[in-house]
């Protein structure tokens, strides 16, 4: 199985693609748009030299790169990676999205791969806050009691606890200073904490009206000193269809439009994970770098 690594580079300078449209609440537009614009600019930059008149399409091999069983879309030049100032100036937040239909036993490897890329990209050793998003959970906070009840039945607590053990290990190794979860209601959070050693310090929730935090969740968060943070991420950040679309003939032009199509590389793809990193200059309130990596399995067909 080949792995595909998609990357956005720093989206802070990507312009309008990452500015929120008013009225939207959750979305994955930032990821999708910035991947697309990352592909477009890589194609421009690696376009074959012309006399200025013709615009031949940039060959896939020119702007992507294959390395040890991994296809980088676009290719990444690591020599310029890193932050402008020393690491101590920054608060580094990473959010790791495990996607649906992936095996729990693979999550440890996924997490290692994702964090390795982030550390390489930012030129840092440790991450201040790692928030994990498990598939299949969403906390819809408008109707408080109902939301908590529905939320409690979502996801798979055993799987989540098993995955958390891996993250606790990162924590004990000093790779990650603090851990967080997202979309956990009070029941789920309470049950989760009973079975974990390193407790989450953050729970990211999405509320239509952010003033109405359900009282049980608020009480639990206060009791255990868990910060309830706001997020606007989609609960299904990179569905398979979306990934095929952005890699396909209408998008990046890397993959064929179907697993057996002839207008690009063939084979099934399975999104594994998405990771978002953000380097925040703490005492200046400036976001210096923010971006995404996404990984997908590719069952390559000749």
């Amino acid at each position: 199985m080949t792995q595909i690594i998609l990357s956005t580079g720093n989206v802070m300078s990507a312009g309008p693609t990452i500015i929120r449209k008013r009225g939207t609440n959750r979305s994955n537009l930032e990821l999708v748009n910035s991947l697309q614009s990352s592909f477009v600019s890589a194609k421009e930059d690696f376009a074959p030299a012309t006399n200025g008149s013709t615009h031949a399409p940039t060959p896939v091999e020119a702007w992507t790169e294959r390395q040890d069983g991994t296809l980088f879309v676009p290719r990444i030049s690591w020599q310029g990676a890193g932050l402008r100032d020393e690491a101590s100036q920054y608060e580094i937040t990473v959010k790791l999205f495990f996607l649906r239909d992936t095996l729990v036993k693979e999550r440890e490897q996924f997490a290692r791969d994702a964090l390795e890329l982030v550390r390489k990209e930012l030129g840092i050793q440790s991450i201040d806050l790692l928030v994990v998003a498990f598939p299949g959970i969403s906390f819809e906070g408008d109707c408080e009691w109902e939301a908590d009840r529905v939320n409690a039945a979502q996801g798979n607590l055993d799987d989540e606890v098993a995955t958390w053990k891996v993250l606790e290990e990162f924590h004990s190794q000093g790779l990650v200073k603090k851990l967080g979860v997202s979309e956990f209601g009070s029941e789920k959070l309470g049950a989760f904490m009973e079975r974990t050693t390193v407790r989450p310090t953050v729970d990211q929730i999405n509320l239509h009206n952010c003033c109405n935090v359900p009282p049980p969740l608020k009480a639990l968060a206060e009791k255990y000193d868990i910060q309830l943070n706001v997020h606007t991420d989609s609960t299904d950040i990179l569905p398979c269809g979306t990934l095929r679309e952005i890699l396909g003939p209408q998008g990046a032009g890397v993959l064929a439009d179907s697993p057996t199509g002839s207008n690009g590389l063939k084979g099934e793809i399975t999104p594994y994970w998405v990771v978002r990193y953000m380097a925040f200059v703490q005492d200046r309130g400036v976001i210096e770098n923010k971006g995404y990596f996404a990984s997908s399995g590719w069952d390559e067909k000749p």
Partner: protein, 721 residues
Amino acid sequence: MGLLALGTPLDWPEAEKRAHQVREWGIKQLLEIWNKAKGKQRDALLWGDEVEYLVVTYDKDDEKVLLSLRQAEILTALASDQELAEAGGCTDDTIDDTTKGKTDKPIPVFHPEFGRFMLEATPGKPWGIGFKELLDVEPDMKLRRKIAKEHMLSTEYPITLTTFPRIGSPGQFTFPYYPTGGPKLRSQFVPDEIANPHIRFPTLAANIRSRRGRKVQVNVPIFHDVNTPKPWKDPTVNYDLHQWPEDDDVRNGAAPDEYIHMDAMAFGMGSCCLQITFQAKSITEGRQLYDQLSPLGPIMLALTAATPVYKGFLANTDVRWNQISRAVDCRTPEELGEKPLKHNRWRIPKSRYASNSTYISNDPRLRKEYLDPDLVIDPAIKDKLTEGGMDDRLATHFAHLFIRDPIVIFEEDLQELDMTKTDHFENIQSTNWQHMRFKPPPAGSDIGWRVEFRPMEIQITDFENAAFSVFMVLVTRAILSFDLNFYIPIKKVDENMERAHEVDAVLKTKFYFRKSPFPVRPSRANTAAPDDSRPGSAMASRPASPGPVEEEYAEMTVNEIINGSCDSDFPGLIPIVESYLDSVNVDVQTRCELSTYLELIGKRASGELDTASRWIRNFINSHPDYKHDSVVDEKVNHDLIGAVIAVGERESAGRNFAGLGIPGLPQLLGNFRGGCGDEAGRRQANGLSNGQSNGHHNGNGSPTLKRKNEFEQGNTENGKR
């Protein structure tokens, strides 16, 4: 502090002779600080707000509302309060650094201002950028008002209107009463005692008048209502005075038809405003912020409009800016272009209080077309600065500021040049009242390079003042994070500043604004060198071949600029700020509170809520005693001030605004902070109903800054509006 320095001020003809020396020494001091501080890197964001108050005496049963001239007594009462002293002190003279530095939340600090009826208050220490800390601003502002009120007479109130509607009206408008026509101002409308008696202020006013060769002419177009005579002649102007030579001014056409005529500095410098100062990471970031905030100035001026009345008449303008500009306009007839240049060196297109005339950053995105080719500078001063190592653009900025004469010079300061001080530099710098100010670090301090955003008008409630302050802070963070580009030709910023004066400019006027604020993506090809930053690492880059400058900007409404619109490329400042907030770690409660501020600003921009100016106009219009003749008489003024006081009292008690029966109030404050009661069901929807601090506070870890007032004011001396 320069303010307290005592000495012998030189009268005008004498001061003029020494102006050159002040400039020369000022430039030496500037080069000294610049050399010392140009290498400063990594200063934290610290910022401060300044809120100014009018002090009025008000009695519900007495029609006469007066400006209280008891500034000095109130400051003395504040200074001698034992409890406040133990908390670290709250006036410039009584601050105890050892105590103040230790407290986590030092108490606010009060300062005198030009008007003897004014007070200024700043937080006890600068704010940082902890998002929760931004929520401390509003309670701190409320605390300032409370402390101020506690040290006044029971009939005195600190209010945040930009101007007192009947300042300069015939009869008594101050307490105590003083006759008009004093030797310093020579005004037929206001007494000399209207100004702070500290020798600096009367000297400033008198020397501006002397330099001009006549009194200042603050003429504001009258608003024509249905019963307003046409043509309208200011009925309060006396053409028969013969006490001072300047009494001739009105006989020589100083008071044209259709204009409310005012003749003294107090009409401008007696206005209150809301100013924000930001400390930048480095000189480079400071210059970038200065430039990027410049085009926002007129927009924020229009959006905060609060000044529809002057001298008892409704004006046909909505903001204070040009009145202050004219109130301190020291230009001679030669400089104004009325006479051929003989004695003076150049013609000067703008007052020393005006919108900025140049950009100062070395940002590659700053195209030469944005600059004013006719910018007046002192070439000899520019040469000195460039010889001292300063780059051309920054040298140009200071050589522009230094075309002005110093107005107030103390004899004693001219005996020896003290290079450990910046007094001569500040003498010129702090009497250039442009809408942005670039502030070098004060001598002998750890404070960094700062940028002051000066155009906003003060708002009636602390909720609104906190909202606009916090909004501007978030805008600066978004500018730096997204590397935004708001450049338009500086002349268009000037034009916008004029447009911001129009009545209801916030809704009716279009402003030049850049269509796309986003950086152009740097190409990998240009960043191939290994030590270069990578594509997308937010490094400024210049597009290969920029198109015509005229295509970069368009005319937009304030609503389009603030809220964005589907039809324009510009996404809107609020969506940009929201996108910034979406990217950072912020807790639910804090985000909610910040959203409340953004919501207020969004509603003001869309017209869903009124500006203070519109509210005042509607209030007057609906008053039974108003005769629709543009006259704001004592009864109307009384009830307007009474309404403002009532709103303030509710706010400071943490109560909503229901049941006050104030016309138009729901259109001003909507459902915010408990609302006005007409839509009771939605009261809780807008966050904390009482605006109390919710107890969280994170110190910003900035021990380097000792004093708030030093930080904000640098070494300014001569009043700061």
